[in-house]
Symmetry: C2
Subunit: 406 residues, 2 copies
């Protein structure tokens, strides 16, 4: 890499670090950072803080002031060219007299992609894409939820499956004892995923056995920056749903029950739930069941379609085992956040991540793209992306043959 490219990468890396700051707050917008450089010195910086607030370029221009004239701006995403809540960034860059724009990622929205760049070029600004692949990869990864939701005709939110497993892959013992497989270091990290998602989803078993709050609790983030996701429970029936459930406190976060429209609900119970502002959606799914004995009966695609229509762009699936299996079975998982605790549990009947799998040949087992591994105290975190399965695509993911016979 020549010296110029190294400089470019350095400034773009700074812009990427800025972009990542407002953890979970920008949805449904992308994460964007911008750095303005003149005479090899940073004279302005900015990032998009949250939906509705100014874009990264605007913040960086304000930070640089009149000094921005004839400067170069590094921006992690193509500047917008449309009048949203904040006016087009392209015009602001032109007005400020920016001479050169170096960007990482084109706008993933197929309807506007390239228009911002074209507008800048038309105004006589030099426009370059960063050469460093690492920068591009980071911008794609940071905005994976945004990019997913920009796809045309996408009928579901981005789905992250989060699970705590023993080293031998068990979610609980055969008696469903799962408290606690991982230690606090892992659970702290898991809360970052909650912060980044619009919704958390659990099943009836988890609701009743754990009575969770499903709120975000991150020690390192000031309370004012915490954003609790909508809490979604898939319910086949309402027995054992009582007013003592923590999730019914909707002053902490919204709560949404999704249940089959064939389910009878006691009128008093409905009244109680309404009084607590619990949202309820009866779903046209006569066979909705969240237990393992009714595999494939949960129409996960239909549930996700409902969520998409509610403007939920990302869902964190927190289990239990039947829910995990149902989402994997439906091929509706985009990402895995697996936290391994330092235990061996064993037993054929102890639940695992995907007990209903119908995979017989190893070549048909989805091949995960592992993007990150981290040791967290006595836990191991493995972060992966699921393959985007097209029809008959699974067969292309064959195992790597060994170099020599084993």
């Amino acid at each position: 890499m020549d010296k110029n490219q190294a400089q470019h990468q350095k400034y773009m890396q700074r812009a990427l670090n800025l972009a990542a700051q407002p953890l979970g707050l920008v949805s449904p917008n992308p994460y964007v950072g911008a750095v303005i450089v003149k005479n090899n010195k940073i004279i302005g910086e900015g990032y998009h803080h949250q939906a509705g607030a100014p874009h990264a370029e605007i913040n960086a221009l304000r930070n640089a002031g009149a000094n921005a004239r004839d400067a170069t701006i590094y921006v992690t995403l193509e500047p917008c060219n449309h009048h949203g809540r904040t006016g087009p960034c392209t015009q602001a860059l032109i007005d400020a007299g920016i001479r050169c724009v170096i960007y990482a990622l084109e706008d993933p929205n197929p309807l506007v992609s390239g228009q911002g760049l074209a507008r800048l070029v038309a105004a006589g600004i030099k426009v370059f894409k960063i050469e460093a692949q690492e920068c591009l990869d980071q911008s794609v990864f940071l905005n994976r939820i945004f990019i997913h939701n920009q796809q045309e005709n996408i009928a579901r939110p981005y789905v992250i499956l989060k699970a705590a497993l023993s080293l031998d892959g068990k979610l609980a013992t055969q008696d469903y004892d799962s408290k606690w497989i991982t230690t606090d270091a892992a659970r702290q990290k898991a809360h970052y995923f909650r912060q980044q998602c619009d919704a958390i989803l659990i099943g009836r078993g988890t609701l009743l056995s754990d009575n969770p709050n499903l709120t975000v609790r991150i020690d390192a983030i000031s309370k004012s920056l915490i954003k609790n996701p909508i809490r979604i429970v898939l319910l086949s029936d309402f027995s054992e749903i009582t007013k003592n459930l923590n999730i019914l406190d909707t002053t902490l976060a919204r709560t949404l029950f999704i249940y089959p429209n064939t389910t009878a609900i006691d009128a008093d119970l409905v009244e109680m739930l309404r009084s607590k502002q619990v949202e309820m959606i009866a779903c046209n799914l006569p066979t909705l069941k969240d237990n393992l004995d009714n595999k494939n009966k949960l129409d996960i695609k239909e549930v996700l379609n409902i969520l998409k229509k509610l403007n939920i762009h990302s869902v964190l699936i927190e289990g239990g085992p039947a829910i995990h299996s149902a989402f994997l079975e439906a091929q509706c998982v985009d990402e895995l956040a697996l936290f391994y605790g330092a235990r061996l549990i064993g037993a054929k009947n102890a639940p695992s991540l995907w007990d209903t799998s119908n995979i017989h040949a190893l070549g048909d087992a989805p091949f995960i793209n592992i993007i990150e591994t981290e040791r967290l105290d006595q836990n191991v975190f493995i972060h992966g992306l699921m393959p985007h399965i097209q029809e008959h695509d699974a067969q292309e993911h064959h195992a790597q043959e060994p170099k020599k016979g084993e």
Copy 2:
């Protein structure tokens, strides 16, 4: 840490690095390295290359020559004071005029521990234990097999369980397809474990389905330094054992079949196996079975006792699932080498690491001491030590409670 301690640690670290060089070749001896320092300069270095060859101190003294007089020696293990194949190192240090000995680990053999140090002190040499805990920990870890075997009345070799798992803990699909869960980067690392162990052990299922060689194949090590372990197969019966099995080529390594003495073997088959120098031990175990339907029927402790009597100090358990379960069930595993391939396999009937586990409460699940994690291409390696379970000890390994309710 003061400057002196930092210097001591630096030289001891060099001695530890030297000690680790002869991967797998020193058994049944310990790994030992030595560095001789004078006027803050290394003037001699050495390590124990292999059983029967000179000890580390001797090699370092030879390397330093007459210059060793009045120097300080850093040695990772207490110098020996006994006449073995190579003469006592204490006397050699005294004769060379060494002024100061800094060591990391006392001799773990309770019969001789401290005697070397006492001999040196009696000769007027200054003797210190290194203060840096990291150095001590490294020396203990490097010599964990040696230390295990120095215990009085220990009736079995050190046991390492090696397995390749999917991210959801499966050893194979429900049809027992397991080729290949991990990729070559993981398998290369697994071969280092073979190199370090005196023996590899498999069951009948693995023998027949994989027809393995079970030899060491490490690209980075010269062929002359490869040491193939003894290959041990636990067999309940000899059906399907034919002369075409790769493991019968005993020119590559010794092969040992262990089977119940109630098992009838065809005379021609015995003749064939003998002609190939396959070793056979009929074991007084009427119920020896290597299948899951006969859980607990394999008397693993008895098998290991036989191996110990054959001077086998370490065994690498390579499966399959029934063998892994049997060793875990017998609480005869000291160490785990788990290689996770980037797959999700699923299915309740797909074999996992410990299908016969009888654990119901999470607090009874063994808590592993994770000592190392490593990303190997698209695989994740987790290296752990099993807890040393005493009677009723399991209950002390309770899960860490979370800081706040989940």
